[in-house]
Symmetry: C2
Subunit: 727 residues, 2 copies
Amino acid sequence: MEGRQPAGGKAGSRTSGSAKASARGGMDFARLDSFFNPSSLALVGATDRSRWSWSAFHNWRTYSEGPCYLVHPRHQKVHGEPAFPSLSAIGESVDIAYVMVPTDQVLPVMEEAASIGIRNAVILTAGFGETGPEGAALEAKLVELAEAEGMLFLGPNGNGFVNAARGRTPYGLPIAPPLRRGPVGIVLQSGGLASVVLGMAQARGVGTTMVVSTGNEAMVGATDVIGYLAAQEETRAIAVFLESIRQPEHFKEVATAALEAGKAIVALKAGRSAAGSRAALAHTGAVAGDAAVVQAVLDSLDVVRVTSLEDLLTTAGLLGYQPRRLGRRLAVVAVSGGACDILADRASDEGLELPEYPPATLAALEELLPPYSNPHNPLDVTGYVVVDANISARSLEAVVASPAGHFDEVLYQTTIPQAAPPDPAPLMARYAALAELVARSPLPVLLQSSGPAGGGFADEVLDRFGFFVLDGIEHGMSALGSAVRWQERREALLSRPRPAPAPRLEPPPGATGTFGEARARALLAAHGVPVVPTVIVHNVGEALSAARTFGGPVALKVAADTLLHKSDLGGVELDLRTEEEIEEAAERLLAIAETHHVGDEGLQVAPMRRGGVELLASVRCDPAWGPILVVGLGGVWVEVLGETSLLPLPSGRVEIEDALRSLRGYQLLEGGRGRPGVDMEALIDSLTGIARLGEGLGDALDTLEVNPLWAGPSSCEALDALVVWAR
Amino acid sequence: MEGRQPAGGKAGSRTSGSAKASARGGMDFARLDSFFNPSSLALVGATDRSRWSWSAFHNWRTYSEGPCYLVHPRHQKVHGEPAFPSLSAIGESVDIAYVMVPTDQVLPVMEEAASIGIRNAVILTAGFGETGPEGAALEAKLVELAEAEGMLFLGPNGNGFVNAARGRTPYGLPIAPPLRRGPVGIVLQSGGLASVVLGMAQARGVGTTMVVSTGNEAMVGATDVIGYLAAQEETRAIAVFLESIRQPEHFKEVATAALEAGKAIVALKAGRSAAGSRAALAHTGAVAGDAAVVQAVLDSLDVVRVTSLEDLLTTAGLLGYQPRRLGRRLAVVAVSGGACDILADRASDEGLELPEYPPATLAALEELLPPYSNPHNPLDVTGYVVVDANISARSLEAVVASPAGHFDEVLYQTTIPQAAPPDPAPLMARYAALAELVARSPLPVLLQSSGPAGGGFADEVLDRFGFFVLDGIEHGMSALGSAVRWQERREALLSRPRPAPAPRLEPPPGATGTFGEARARALLAAHGVPVVPTVIVHNVGEALSAARTFGGPVALKVAADTLLHKSDLGGVELDLRTEEEIEEAAERLLAIAETHHVGDEGLQVAPMRRGGVELLASVRCDPAWGPILVVGLGGVWVEVLGETSLLPLPSGRVEIEDALRSLRGYQLLEGGRGRPGVDMEALIDSLTGIARLGEGLGDALDTLEVNPLWAGPSSCEALDALVVWAR
């Protein structure tokens, strides 16, 4: 049984309910490590009638060592073994209680557990926070008890965990054999999905360290488990299924720790399709919804995003099993021309290259292959493999001997059969030779199958040689693309200094509701963001005189701070060139201002800016994730493209430039085909200023939106702006 | 043995080498049906040393009935059976010869086969057309012989076929059991891939009628086989892997026949990533490459396009097994909240809806489910399913009883285990009840598993109850989305009259090389496509006078027919408003014209068109697929979006409007946010005129490009144009 743990650990940095637990100690690595490595189990509520009970019992007997005590108040025998009437009756120390009693009996059971020094529990029982306020109150009582007694529990409404690395399985759903050990840690917020994912991992030959179902996360959240896995030795990659991220700041910390430790987090985040939940007072809400914010945060932390369970497992498998550096220059040794075609298309999708084989390699391949073959990358070893089964391996041997630096890795297609051949020895010998070749290859060798990678005889081969096999072309290439991008981004992130936070700013006087154009522009100007020069006028004569001062075409707008969508009301006139045009426009706009009872605020006159590109630039302060810079092409572009880049703040100039580059419209900024490019330095200056202003205002701000931000050939100016305050 | 077939069949409509075979009869349905249903097999070149030979022999013995004769010139015993020294020595009739002799012996073997009345062959041997001119000549001799003798052969360089529906397997790669019969016909141009696909189909529980590997397609092409499967009774859906489509016109015919027969063709077409192979003299080449043309043709024929083998099989499986009409309103009964989340995201990706359960259904579900559950669509039956295994089925029962018209189908998650439980009877009883419920359900019920859908015990269940199970959420939802879109599009296509072909037009005099703006505009105008009024001028005074005639801002361009990229040379000046601007621009352009030695052609003056939307509209005459209309937003939009819609011609107004609607920029045409919409009728008139002109010119044309085509609020005009002739 575990020893008592000292209080301590990372405290104070968390925002959810479990922050309390953390502040009180016990959520550090050692505490979780003792939680996840119990040597004895008590199944409380064990009964022959429950499949949960049967599964939990069977799992422990099959995959774990140490005693499993069955507890039921009335049954004397459960699952064919003697049962105890209560936890107290066991009379031996118990590392973890697996609680499956009815909802109203969970608290008494936990109290009894506490009284006899049981410090860990999995609570399978449902009917708590997920059902409403009453259940939430009961759940809070459990947490209160646990915190008071120094206990830690997983759940409620969670199936527990499978510690495959060490053989500890307090887990209440069936685990189909073989339970494969491997480098991938898996965390899921959905209980039922845990078994699905475990089954899929086994079918794909992906071995795990731990599979943890966090349920309601009353004490231990997915983020805590990710943090544990990032620090745990056996885990080399982490696969997570997330419905919501409950501890944003803590999540950022553990994701950063994982990145520094070289352990990729691969995430399938539910809710991609959820409509942004914000009212669209500012345009920003419509083009940068909640799902987009979470995606931007995950991107900024180099969390690999996938959208299917297949990609979740194959990608985490590749990142966990393959210790070497991967890159974009891929060599392929395939088993058919058709496979080569599909691979080439998928490689292109993933931004991977298939450089031609260098002359020496081509010569070696021509020597090997039948006379009618025409070797190139991707290499089809041709149907001749049926005559000479070693031709694939010999081709691989030739390819890995390519001059250093020509390729980053080799993908080698080989499908290990699920049914053993009558005499498996020759096949085993071929795999042994392959394992030896892979081990001494100067290039990383990735194996890729066309059928299920695991199962039956294939499991034997995987076990014996420690192979990891990418499951099919589709998911295999997704995994490779993701792995390469993860590594590239990791290197970039770790090589850059972390951007310094912006200094905290006091909101200006009257910072409630919204600021229309005039006050928003003033705020920008006061913080060094260039804005277009503007004169307020109250009649046609003043308008004409202001226009004369600017020279060239002008824009006229109704100045009212309360009219947020001036152009929808016809309150904007652009590109006025002649005195007649200006007069006519001013008269019309003054009439509109009267109609909307804002006549006394007058009109704005500003010079037209032409020949540049209009952008949308905002800072949105997300309640969970803090300030986010949103940038995209503006005006009609944002309507048609609906495309923006989001950057969690603080971010530096390099990140801002990357965000611009990631836009489809970036080439408009670069110029070309007779159009001049924009002043990129001035644009990044403006964006940096907007970002630091928004970040500095912090949670006083809802949204600061500059739309359009005009980027010209030699300057950048805010042409219109809007502030929505948080209060 | 088959009877002799009468000559005849569809003739004259084909363009490839096999057209000859067709014209000579024998490629009609009955001829292919006899080819694909041999009752006796001769393996020529059979030897214990060849895995092909062993596989072909073993396959026939395992899956087929009727004699299998082994032929080898020297071996007296092969695969443990007596062998014949030659085909002639067999002395019995042989329906099909499977030829695996060395390349130089194939022709003599075929001659011998012909001499003894063998009318069908699979030629496995490689070394023919795929190797170069010498091999191609040898291949041509085989075709010549076969045509002269009324023979038909598959290959060379192809593995043969597996007729699972009737149990005929002249096929030279291993077939892992069980060979499942089912409704999906599979055609592949890649030999090695056939076995991969067959294995994947079996793992997914997808049963087949036929799997055909067409190899070099010397006589029988993939298109012929698709046509056969479209007419064959057992086949309900057709899955094809295509490297190239060798018979475009014939392909259109068989795809149309399949569509009319209600059999979906699902295609994985290689070469998506291939760069467009056309020189980019016209802009069209860069935005509508060869791969895009093929995709447009497949779309116009309602061929379902997929990009992975997984989607190929799962989609064809769904379309083959599910006879009922599917639609966008999906009900889901799932096994975990996490699965519901992933399903909801994927449903949204696919354009499917998850309408809430109607009140009566909700009431029934609340009755069934535990008190803490909160039923909604997608339905999580909660972990309670572990306690009451029937809760899922009872929920399904409640859902299928929803009022008619509320849902189009139900997706029901159930994973059939691959390992049989110790006592399979209760589980079998549950599946029997499920089968009964599915059969009497007023709504189509789609089953979806989380693991591999077939294999082991699952195969038994699939066989007994005729279930088809979608393999996983990712590929299952892709399949459902594709199936729904296929059905919708099929109904639209079959309900519309087929557009009439445009009348053939004589190319204008001098139709070689290129026509620059002036001649291209004249051609358009002569065929009723509105063009912007333009005056040719030769000095500043004429320019000013022309501008005065038009009134308002004008555009000035260098008029030279040979300068195709005028704007890149600075030869275009837009939006000239004042006399000074016009004078200055005219002087500059006249100087440019002098520099490029085209001064005598003068300048064009045209009124500026503003406030509308610029489009790109072209007709590209594809060598294989004929005329294609290309339409997209023009100007800077085509550079940034790189997006066009392609429509094979002839197409009607409805198709042209659909093509416009499919553009991301369609909302620009619609107007909104203060911008007026364009005159859609005038735009479609212009596009129809351009399409019919391009189509009428036929293969005299390479590309007719109108860029920009200006669509205004009340008219539509070609502002600039270019013609590239085919010669």
